[in-house]
Structure formats: structure tokens, C-alpha cells
């Protein structure tokens, strides 16, 4: 996963995201901030699954679907 662009984003604790190269702004929730920060650290999809399966009461299928959805959203906004 290409995360160079993600690493340039300014992300506040509240989930407000500013892309300094495009000027675009976004809002995400705490879970979104957590995912983005893990991606910035270089974690891959399986490692994200491992982190969140421990933290949330969720089935593996449901978590996989939600994570894929979120990653697709990041792709749609050209963040990854």
C-alpha cells in the first residue's frame, strides 16, 4: 500500500485532516484516526486486522469488510 501521501497529512486529535498539497480537508472519527496512524507507521492490512480484532467486539468478516470500506474511501480521496 502506497502511504507516502498519507504521511504528509496533518491530522488533529479531533479527526480533522488537512492535505497541505491539495488544500483539501476531511473529517474522520477516532477509529479513522487510529487506522490512518497505523498506516502511516507502515502497518499492512493483516496487521490492522490483528490490532482491531483485539480492540473491538467484532467478527473477523465484519471487521474485514469495514476496513476494506475505509481503505477504499482513503483511495477515493487519493490519500493512499
Amino acid at each position: 500500500m502506497q502511504t507516502e501521501r498519507l504521511k504528509t497529512l496533518a491530522i488533529s486529535d479531533s479527526g480533522f485532516i488537512f492535505d497541505p498539497s491539495s488544500g483539501d480537508t476531511f473529517n474522520t472519527n477516532d477509529t479513522g484516526v487510529h487506522i490512518i496512524n497505523l498506516l502511516k507507521q507502515g502497518k499492512d492490512f493483516n496487521e490492522l486486522m490483528d490490532v482491531f480484532i483485539d480492540e473491538y467486539e467484532v467478527s473477523e468478516d465484519e471487521l474485514e469488510a469495514d476496513l476494506l470500506d475505509y481503505i477504499q474511501t482513503l483511495k477515493n480521496y487519493h490519500m493512499i
Binding site: 496533518a10 488537512f18 497541505p20 498539497s21 491539495s22 488544500g23 483539501d24 487519493h78
Partner: protein
């Protein structure tokens, strides 16, 4: 004390850049006296006494050039001008003609040559874009209804229908295009431009070229909101290397001399940069660059006065500019002075 005359002090709903330039100079390291060159007694800059020290009414540059020069000579005889910053497209051809004469009188300007001015003309944008490896949206100039029909057939819908100076509308079919064509022609005249619609966001880079291909600093924004005439109302500072590189290629290609605004669109899907327009002057929002540490008007004056000047482009991204409207109250006698005598002193020059 450096005395700088600046035009375009019409800080109205379609603002000229003059007040922003003067504010930048007043907040700079320079000890500067600012002279506003106005074309109408109701230009707000005339009355903004914290920035504009004195204003003079000018004859229109499109009229008798001799009167224009004589008026400048009169102002110079009183103010001993060092620099003139021209901010209006309509003035530039006149100033290009008289710049050598002004320089002989000790008044310096940093403006493009006629050749540079012609190369950035809207009609030559495609060639210019190709020279600097930047795309341009396909566009066709129209001076008749027939032209419009042929242009829209070639460009297809949706397309943008643009006035020669301001305003642009997105047309989805010929009926809409015809309506916008008539509206714009009645308001602004010809030619009307039919332009390919490119989905994306608009960005600006401003700077100042020294005439050798080097810049005196660059500053980039994303337009957050614009007025009905397409003027920037809110903006956020950004750092985008691709944009700055494209701008530097332009400066080198033209050996640009003076302030400029490089207007582009970045296509949403591809991230490709499309060149929309090059304005041969600072824009109305130029103060934003000064407030972010890239004081282009200050650097221009320092360059002209053979003073050391910064050339860095080190500024923070994520600073937003919020433009707002305001009111000032003045006595009717001020209006009398500017309308009857053609000049208004806000801040008397102290004579020691």
C-alpha cells in the same frame, strides 16, 4: 522614505489589488509613503487612512495618453515618486510605453515587456502551456452565434461559457450555452470563450519575476470560495511542488518581469495541472502572501530600489484567508476634496 504609488485601490466587491499591496508595504520593513492612484472618487482605498497616505484621481488610461502622463508628472512634482506599482490590466500597455521615460525621471516599475504581455494572452494559452509542459483546456473564441454552435459541437457538453474579462458558466446543452453567451456578451462584450469543462479544483500561485527567469518567492493557495465573478473570497495556503515547478518553468520560459498570478485547475481524477490564465500583476488577495511571510510587494520595491531582498518561499501551509466587508465613515469634505480637486491627503508628510 520611499514613496510608492499604487493603482487599483477599488477595494469593492470586485476588488483591485491596490489596497492589499499598500497594506503589505505598510506592514513591511520599509519606511514607505503610499500614494493611491484612483479612477473614481468612490474607490474605497482613497478613504482608508491607515494604509493610503494620499490619493489622486487619474484620467482613464484608455483615453488620452498625454493627459495620463501629465497627471503622473504632476503627482511626481508633489510626491517625488520612487516606484509605481501598476495593478490593472488596462493600464499596463500605457505603462509599458512610458516606463523608460518614468525611469529617466527616477520612477521605477517592474512590469512585463509587451512581448511577455502578449505571450500570456488568453488566445495564446495553448502554445504557452505546451512550452512549459502544462495542459490547457480546449477553448474556442466566439464572436457570433454561429461560432458558438460550431465551438460547442467541437468541444461538446458540458462546457464552460466565459466572458472576456469575468464570469463563467457551465452549460449542459446548446440552449443553456446560448443563454450564457447572450448574457455575457451584453455585459462584457466579445469574444466569448467556449471552453472544455475539466472537473477539478482551482489553485493560484503568485510571485514576482526579476526579468531573468528567477523568482522573488512563490506563494500558492487553493481557492476555497469565490464570488459570482470568480474572484477569490476565501483561500488556504498550500505547498504543492508540482505546481511550484510548473510556475518556475513559466517564469524561466518568459523571463517574466513583475508580479503575476498563475491560475490553474488540478483535474480530480488524474491530478493533471491545467493552465487557465496568467494575470500580469499581483491579485487582490496578495496581502495573504505578505501575512504568511512572503511579502512580494515589499520584495518588488526593494528590488527596484537596489536594496537586498528575500527570495525564499518558506511559508506555512494551512493558513486560511477570510475576506470580509466593512464600512468606514468619513466627512463629506473628504469626498469634496477628491471629487472637486482630484486629491485627498489622509496623512500629511512630516517635513523636518
Amino acid at each position: 522614505m520611499i514613496t510608492v504609488a499604487v493603482s487599483g485601490i477599488n477595494a469593492a466587491d470586485n476588488p483591485g489589488p491596490g489596497v492589499g499591496i499598500i497594506r503589505s508595504l505598510k506592514e513591511s520593513s520599509l519606511n514607505v509613503r503610499t500614494i493611491g492612484l484612483a479612477y473614481d472618487a468612490m474607490e474605497p482605498g482613497i478613504y482608508i487612512d491607515q494604509f493610503v497616505d494620499k490619493s489622486y484621481i487619474m484620467p482613464y488610461p484608455s483615453g488620452d495618453v498625454k493627459s495620463f502622463i501629465e497627471r503622473l508628472q504632476y503627482i511626481h512634482s508633489i510626491e517625488n515618486l520612487n516606484v509605481i506599482v501598476s495593478t490593472l490590466d488596462a493600464e499596463l500597455p500605457v505603462f509599458m510605453d512610458i516606463e523608460p521615460e518614468l525611469a529617466r525621471n527616477g520612477i521605477y516599475m517592474l512590469i512585463p515587456t509587451k512581448k511577455m504581455f502578449a505571450l500570456r494572452n488568453k488566445g495564446k494559452l495553448k502554445e504557452l502551456g505546451e512550452s512549459i509542459n502544462v495542459k490547457t483546456p480546449k477553448y474556442i473564441s466566439c464572436t457570433s452565434y454561429d461560432d458558438l454552435v460550431h465551438a460547442t459541437e467541437e468541444i461538446s457538453f458540458p462546457c464552460m461559457i466565459k466572458g472576456p474579462f469575468y464570469e463563467a458558466f457551465k452549460a449542459h446543452n446548446l440552449a443553456e450555452a446560448e443563454g450564457f453567451f447572450n448574457k455575457l456578451a451584453a455585459k462584457w462584450g466579445f469574444p466569448i470563450i467556449a471552453q472544455q469543462f475539466v472537473k477539478g479544483q482551482e489553485y493560484d500561485v503568485i510571485g514576482c519575476g526579476d526579468g531573468t527567469g528567477q523568482n522573488m518567492g512563490l506563494f500558492a493557495i487553493k481557492k476555497m470560495t469565490t464570488t459570482a465573478l470568480g474572484k477569490v473570497w476565501n483561500a488556504v495556503s498550500i505547498k504543492n511542488d508540482l505546481l511550484l515547478d510548473a510556475c518556475n518553468r513559466l517564469l524561466k520560459h518568459l523571463s517574466w518581469r513583475g508580479g503575476f498570478e498563475f491560475e490553474v485547475l488540478i483535474e480530480e481524477q488524474t491530478g493533471d495541472i491545467y493552465l487557465l490564465e496568467i494575470n500580469p500583476r499581483f491579485p487582490a488577495w496578495v496581502y495573504m502572501s505578505a501575512a504568511c511571510g512572503i511579502n512580494l510587494p515589499e520584495r518588488m520595491v526593494q528590488f527596484l530600489m537596489d536594496m537586498p531582498y528575500d527570495t525564499h518561499s518558506d511559508y506555512s501551509s494551512g493558513k486560511i484567508m477570510i475576506r470580509y466587508t466593512n464600512e468606514i465613515l468619513k466627512d463629506i469634505s473628504d469626498f469634496e476634496k477628491i471629487s472637486a480637486y482630484g486629491e485627498l491627503e489622509n496623512n500629511q508628510l512630516e517635513v523636518s
